[in-house]
């Protein structure tokens, strides 16, 4: 029996590349690329490292999102994942983390379960870090988050992980099946290989809707079922622009700064 790993991945806008229109104060999203979420790439890489060591490992990457998220899944296949599945349906739109975890847990169930669920710590667009643990809760399996190192026993039954804390780490043993979330310290994701890209393009990526997943669109997934709702959203008010210092030399600039800081009683 192959060791089955499910990697949860999300396609996200590269939030580092986003700028605010200085006049309209709205987001400028033109030219902002969609990418595989960084932490998820670390999760996939770790799954691939396990497969490198134990070839009888099967990796399925799953995602929920619009049809375009297939591009990201092709990238995951090209990195070396065996298969990929996308949950995509209008009825899934507007899901919060609780509802998203219902949908993704249903995907994993439909895949026949797995020995290890690997997710990134958090996505750079939402930054919630909640979906991984909530999938684990729905599936009633144990979890370790913020994994920075991992060692799997030869019989694939026990995993020893380093869990990063703010001021150190914990060494934790956990038995499979379980859910782990990866941080970037875990590894350096590999690039897609040429043959990987070639093979990936030939692979079919199934797209499953709410009906395929057997989830209740009124009670389990989507906007209405989500316990949290957006009350308002807005762009943060920019802090007022201050003074640009002028000066002939660097020394003048430095002096001008110190005088300014002194006059405002900052120093």
């Amino acid at each position: 029996m192959a060791f089955k790993i499910v990697v949860c991945a999300k396609q996200v806008p590269d939030t580092n590349e986003i700028k605010i229109d200085p006049v309209k104060k709205t987001l400028m999203r033109e030219g902002v690329p969609s990418i595989l979420n960084h932490d998820d790439a670390n999760a996939l890489e770790e799954a691939l490292l396990i497969k490198d060591k134990y070839p009888d490992t099967h990796i399925t990457v799953i995602s929920m999102g619009p049809p375009q998220a297939k591009d990201m899944l092709i990238e995951c296949l090209a990195m070396g994942a065996d298969e990929a599945v996308l949950a995509s349906d209008r009825a899934l739109g507007g899901s919060d983390t609780w509802a998203t975890s219902n949908a993704l847990a249903a995907v994993i169930d439909k895949l026949g379960g797995c020995d290890l669920i690997f997710a990134g710590r958090q996505a750079i667009d939402g930054d919630t870090a909640q979906v991984g643990p909530q999938i684990a809760e729905k599936m009633d399996i144990p979890q370790v988050t913020y994994v920075s190192e991992l060692e799997i026993s030869k019989d694939m039954k026990r995993i020893t992980v380093k869990r990063a804390l703010e001021d150190g780490y914990e060494l934790i043993e956990i038995d499979t099946p379980c859910m782990l979330t990866a941080i970037k310290e875990l590894n350096t994701p590999r690039y897609m290989s040429i043959s990987g890209i070639f093979d990936a393009c030939k692979k079919e990526i199934p797209v499953w809707g709410a009906a395929d997943l057997g989830v209740d669109v009124d009670k389990e997934v989507g906007l209405d079922a989500s316990p949290t709702k957006v009350f308002r959203s807005f762009t943060p008010a920019p802090k007022g622009k201050g003074e640009m210092l002028e000066g002939e030399t660097e020394c003048d600039l430095a002096k001008g700064l110190l005088v300014g800081l002194k006059s405002k009683h900052v120093i």
Binding site: P13, T15, K19, P22, L27, R29, G93, G94, W98, S101, I124, G126, D127, T128, Q130, Q134, A136, E137, K138, P142, Q143, T145, E166, D167, G168, Y169, E170, L171, I172, E173, I174, D175, C178, L223, D224, T228, K229, V230, R232, S233, F234, T235, P236, A237, K239, K241, G242, M244, E250, C251, L253, A254, L258, V259, G260, L261, K262, S263, V266, I267
Partner: protein, 431 residues
């Protein structure tokens, strides 16, 4: 609360497409149509000149939420020491409780083994009461153990609000507890409000949003949870209208601790947790404190941060010299951390630490939104950057366009002369 587009009113002008941060609007047969990327963030609504986009309130049965009362704070402790964020949240929880009603209380929930002694600290920082859940199996934090006992006491006592610090442990525990209770959880909040009137005050002071549709006299006492999203590019206020408790994690360093009231007293309630060793499916073999220098960015009065503009990892040596000179600590942007120039513990920003020092130096930092989100409430911001168009200058109190390798050494050299320089300018203006 769902955004919908009324086809009959849509003229196909595409203004909403530009307003949407999520590329969630497509043009189909010359009409705007929402696709599955829509998060119902409502950014498009004010942009539509034809009132074709509306926020539809779903009429449905409301659950009875009246059985839930009081505000709880997860009093996170590690090895018998309270986390700062827990003390901050006790103060914030007290403020929220009093906004709900004068007899709403804030409770600290202490979970661990032999943690009773910490109750006094909770009282002194503002807790009206403390729940104590002790068991030898709770000596170390485990997801399974803590989730079980915390969920059971919440289900039994029914708090209206439960707050957690957004620490590595809080963010491990809170999602499991919320999922088990089938309630909502909002991550990494930076602002919490109860009364609509306080929310309006906040919105008018710190945001650009139009609050004219909000009723300051509204009797809505739901928790309004404001958080940065989209890498700090967008702020969202989240509510949990139909389920209880309302749960949130809150970033460390954002809320202010109350002044400690020595000898303060409160109510103590002991709850005996029901827990067996077999409930805990992980084995914490070892907890190691890092030998690396602890960077206390949240407590720092002065922070000197470096970014990609340093050009090389060695640039941090100069930033460190500046920090040593001015009595500050070294921070960094995500770009510098991603480049491997400096450890993540130094990172300021949305995915790093949120800071609000008295003085913040941004050296060679362009000012990506995700960085600004973590430092723009600093009292005074000084930016040094080669690029005069860098967004960091939009938030800087003082901006210097120049080569930081030339400017910083001058600041270091002149730092001790600040008094003399300042007096010279006063003398001159007096003449």
């Amino acid at each position: 609360m769902a955004v919908i587009i009324i086809d009959e009113k849509c003229k196909g002008c595409k203004l909403c497409l530009k307003a949407c941060p999520f590329e969630a609007i497509d043009m189909v047969d010359k009409l705007a149509v929402l696709n599955e990327k829509c998060t119902h963030c409502k950014q498009c609504i004010p942009e539509c000149p034809f009132d074709a986009i509306i926020d539809e309130e779903k009429a449905g049965e409301k659950a009875d939420l009246s059985a839930y009362k009081d505000v709880w704070v997860y009093a996170e402790q590690r090895a018998g020491k309270m986390m700062n964020v827990a003390l901050e949240l006790i103060g914030e929880g007290r403020r929220l409780a009093r906004e709900i009603s004068k007899d709403t209380k804030v409770w600290a929930v202490l979970i661990g083994d032999k943690v009773e002694a910490l109750a006094q600290e909770c009282f002194e920082y503002g807790a009206d009461g403390v729940y104590i859940l002790e068991d030898a199996l709770l000596q170390k934090y485990t997801t399974d153990g803590y989730t079980k006992v915390f969920t059971e006491v919440i289900a039994d006592k029914k708090p209206e609000i439960v707050l957690f610090g957004a620490t590595h442990i809080g963010r491990d525990l809170a999602p499991r507890v919320a999922a088990r209770l089938n309630t909502g959880l909002t991550a990494d909040c930076t602002r919490l409000d109860i009364k609509v009137s306080s929310y309006i005050d906040y919105a008018e002071k710190y945001t650009t949003q139009d609050t004219s549709d909000l009723d300051p006299a509204s009797d809505d006492k739901g928790l309004k949870q404001t958080r940065p999203a989209f890498g700090g590019n967008l702020m969202a206020t989240i509510i949990t209208p139909d389920t209880r408790p309302q749960m949130a994690t809150v970033r460390p360093g954002v809320m202010t601790r109350r002044e400690r009231a020595a000898g303060a007293k409160g109510e103590t309630v002991r709850v005996t947790p029901v827990l067996a060793a077999s409930d805990i499916r992980t084995n914490v073999k070892e907890i190691v404190k890092s030998a690396k220098e602890i960077v206390s960015l949240t407590d720092a009065e002065i922070i000197c941060s470096g970014g990609r503009g340093l050009g090389t990892p060695d640039g941090f040596a100069l930033v460190k010299q500046l920090a040593d000179k001015v009595g500050g600590v070294v921070g960094s942007s995500r770009a510098a951390v991603d480049a491997g120039w400096i450890d993540h513990v130094h990172q300021v920003g949305q995915t790093g630490t949120t800071v609000k020092p008295r003085l913040y130096f941004a050296c060679g930092i362009s000012g990506a939104i995700q960085h600004l989100a973590g430092m723009q409430s600093s009292d005074m911001i000084v930016a040094i950057n080669k690029d005069p168009d860098a967004p960091i200058f939009e938030v800087a109190d003082y901006g210097i366009v120049g080569d930081l390798y030339k400017v910083i050494p001058e600041i270091i050299a002149e730092w001790g002369n600040a008094d003399t320089l300042y007096e010279a300018t006063i003398d001159r203006s007096a003449e």
